[in-house]
Amino acid sequence: MKTSGLFKGVAAAILISWAGTAGAFTMTPTPGIAEGLPPTSERAPVDPLVTNMTEIGRTTGKQGGELRTLVGRTKDARLINVWGYARLVGYTEDLELRPDILKDVQVEEGRIFTLTLRRGHKWSDGHPFTSEDFRFWFEDVLTNDALNPWGMPSFLLVDGQPPRFEVIDEITVRYTWDKPNPLFLPELAKSRPPFIYRPAHYLKQFHENYGDPQVIEDMTATYKVRSWAPLFNKLDDMYNARNSELPSLQPWVLTEEGDDRRIVFTRNPYFHRFDSEGQQLPYINRVVMTVADGKLIPAKTQAGESDLQARNLSFSDISVLKRGEASEGYKTNLWLSTKGSQVALLPNLAVKDPVWRKLNQDVRFRHALSLGIDRNMINKVLYFGLAHPSNDTVLEMSPLYKDDYAKDWAAFDPEKANALLDEIGLVERRNDGTRLLPDGRPLEIIIESSGESRAQDDAIELVAETWKELGIRAFLKPSQRDTIRNRAMSGDLVMAVWSGFENGVPTADMPPVDYAPTRGDFLSWAPWGDYYETDGQSGEKPDWAPANRLMELYDAWLASSTKEERAQIWHEMLQIHADETIHIGLVNQVRQPVVVKGLSNVPETGIYGWDPGSHFGIHRMDAFFFTEQD
């Protein structure tokens, strides 16, 4: 049996460090937990995840304290499960996949995944976490027609085939596909993971096959739902943090305290991570989220009402935040946004209008548009010159980065741009200098925006100014997300302004899903993405060679089994994007303010992103601690 050692080395390293410190490692009591719980050593797994804080560049902290933070909506309670970031496998700060809740993952031929749990690991209510919880999800939730009539999610399907699921023993399960499934592990590490395990002991009481019918009926009446399935789905919500009774594996769990305006989380006394001094993580005892209107959050943060805040703060708030630092005793750290581009123009390559379609698909036209943008000026006006003028592509910290990807066709060169436009044949001009389309219409581009981001709207104004020199008129049309998506799908959209690639820091192991027409909500090529998503049932087949090539590459990535293979695919895709300027990116690496008050172990600089990143998740929020405690 050939074993590819994707995680072997890592798991061994953890075991060694565990063994190495075993002499000094005694678990200390955890403050701030409910009384009457067993001692720490009985709550912890036999082999917990031990982190030597100095080895990851942090300091050993002190337990305790209550962290106040602000969120814009009650729904944002779910962020606790993003920030906590306890995943079966998760990314480190360097974006490497490591087992976390799992003790070990063995991958054979890229298609056989053997997951090993930590012996003695317990749910937040003290009940053991075992392979039964995986079985329960796979056999009783996922494949139950009443609970999930929609079939398997795509990350579990390879060529349309579901995996074979086996329980090996109490702490080992195995998923087997016939072909490699490179989507599986990255999916488990997402900020919103699929939770392929569920607290069976709790949920079984509401399940048709296990629970007491009388109890279920009473519960459906109390919750005003119509049958056991909606009741189950309502209570079984591992992500949204709405059911305080639902056992969890995350560092903080929802309490019954508080209400819709104030959400209180307390530490999970059975959490599986420890520091090397034997202190159970997380350091912080309680997290309190206060719901405030998004517009007020910068002002409230500036008034010192938050201990850790990044949500609802943006670059334009930095001057304000800096001003409050001295009087309120907080610090404004500037992290980097991981988006491929903060603002990107997306010409619709699948636009219905034949004239525009021909033009948008003409690489010279896109090059001219890109060359006609003064990215340095935009950087100066909107970002004090602190961002990076760049195409919409991977950032410097990504191992896939190459200079050309960021710089090709991104310099301000109106002369060359004009020459390119002339070359296309757009030589006729209206009396005010605006070029005319081949059919006599003026070259006026309506750029539609979601209307949610002022920076985007401002950027378009700056772009329009320099495009005027090319004889191109651009108009901003603030609209709404859904409307723009629908217009993209129907082919009415000519160009949109949006943020660039969500993941600007990919490694080769992350799926290049954004970079090919794989989904119906990508504005550059919505109908093509729809075609792919629905296997040709709807949408339209791409009629543009680079899109077809990107599709082939994406499919190749899905079938790949080695890292080298994937890196090669990634580079070819990025090169296509750089050559074709499919997205016209403006600037990236924009600073994200992170306000920190009295906390240690919060990095001064870091990347701030959703996936990968989970906001504070990969920066180990469980290791943040209060320096001064009262």
Partner: protein
């Protein structure tokens, strides 16, 4: 009886006109009185209005503001969306007259900007050697007057190569003063459309209800009740969300004012109805009915003039509500947007209060709003007093 009479031999102790009584004589009117009694209703209103000093001055102020509407291009030193990359968030420049004790005429000192990387904001330094006298009746950057003619004539411009930001600039370096002048165009006019609609509906429905009574009256009464029961702002929001997003912002706003007009009539309709009810009972109206005048004629010829003045006053009081409504909508991101400029759009910059503490001049739009709303209110008060025949 007789003992009550004064004794005949004594002169009466009060004055008695010795002239004999002439039943055909009329009292002589002074020329002023004559003018007053013969003046038309409107003339009397005007005289009474003139006595209301505050209202008159408000009227003058409003006329000045309304001058910005047709002549914004000429009055404003810049065009509203003209940006200046070197002056982002520039503070207002003060006007000076004397430099080094010497009279120069209105001028500003030039200033330079740099980023303070510590606090991440723009810092401006005034250069006391750089005297930039303003130019009058000058040519600045070109604009299209009323969107038709290319011109560059202005009342006042910055010195050549200099700047003139008397109310500061915003985050993209756009002059606030020019924004305010151009903003008057939309803020002061578009709301009037809504008022016209609501007045039309109010008079029509209130008139029908008041004149005919019976079934029509009670139906319209129910309608009024329904309209008044719905809170305005949420309704406005819901309706504005229903307007097609492909419309341009100005059209959307135009649509909103029409919606507002459609929602705003019940108050007026009630007033019209009750006025009509009482006027209908007046003798002259009854006389008209008996002489066989048709309802249309009675309403428009006899009854309506009785409260036209009331209508004017109530209209002048609803305009400020429209102006304030526009700023509220902009705050909720439902109103106008750049590149359209209105006071609400400008004030939208001030909605982050902490930003305002760093750049206080972003609050400037609130000044004309307050002035205009006040002026309309005083004017309305004056008009109402003047229109009241019993004072």
């Amino acid at each position: 009886m007789s003992r009550h009479l004064p004794p005949s031999d004594r002169e009466p102790d009060h004055y008695v006109n010795p002239e004999p009584f002439d039943p055909t004589a009329t009292e002589k009117l002074t020329p002023e009185q004559e003018r007053f009694y013969q003046a038309s209703q409107w003339k009397i209103m005007w005289w009474k209005f003139r006595r209301h000093k505050l209202a008159v001055w408000s009227g003058v102020v409003l006329i000045l503001f309304y001058l910005c509407v047709p002549f914004a291009e000429i009055i404003a030193p810049y065009t509203p969306n003209e940006r200046n990359n070197d002056y982002l968030y520039a503070p207002p420049q003060t006007l000076h007259l004397f430099h080094d004790g010497q009279f120069i005429g209105p001028f500003v000192y030039g200033f330079t900007s740099e980023v303070d990387l510590e606090t991440l904001r723009w810092v401006y330094k005034e250069d006391p050697d750089q005297v930039q006298p303003l130019r009058f009746f000058c040519s600045g950057s070109t604009y299209r007057f009323w969107g038709l003619w290319e011109m560059d004539f202005r009342l006042v411009c910055a010195a050549e190569g200099g700047s003139m930001f008397l109310a500061g600039t915003d985050r993209l370096g756009r002059d606030q003063l020019s924004g305010l002048i151009y903003g008057a165009r939309l803020s002061l006019t578009v709301g009037i459309v809504g008022i016209v609609i609501s007045m039309f509906l109010g008079i029509l429905l209130g008139g029908l209800a008041g004149y005919f009574g019976g079934i029509i009256d009670s139906m319209i009464q129910r309608l009024i009740e329904i309209m008044r029961a719905l809170p305005e702002l949420p309704l406005w929001m819901a309706l504005s969300a229903a307007l097609p997003v492909t419309w341009s912002p100005v059209w959307i706003y135009f649509g909103l004012t029409i919606i507002l007009g459609l929602l705003d009539w019940p108050g007026l309709a009630r007033a019209v109805r009750s006025k009509l009810l009482s006027l209908r009972e007046e003798e002259y109206a009854r006389a008209a009915v008996m002489m066989g005048a048709r309802p249309r004629r009675i309403i428009f010829k006899h009854l309506l003039p009785g409260f036209t003045s009331h209508l004017i006053a109530s209209a002048s009081l609803s305009i400020p509500a429209m102006i304030l409504g526009e700023t509220a909508l902009s705050f909720l991101n439902l109103g106008l947007r750049r590149p359209s400029v209105s006071w609400g759009v400008l004030l939208n910059e001030a909605q982050n209060i902490s930003v305002v503490t760093i750049y206080p001049w972003l609050m400037a739009p609130v000044i004309p709003i307050i002035i205009v709303v006040l002026a309309f209110n005083f004017l309305g008060d004056g008009l109402r007093d003047a229109a009241d025949p019993y004072k």
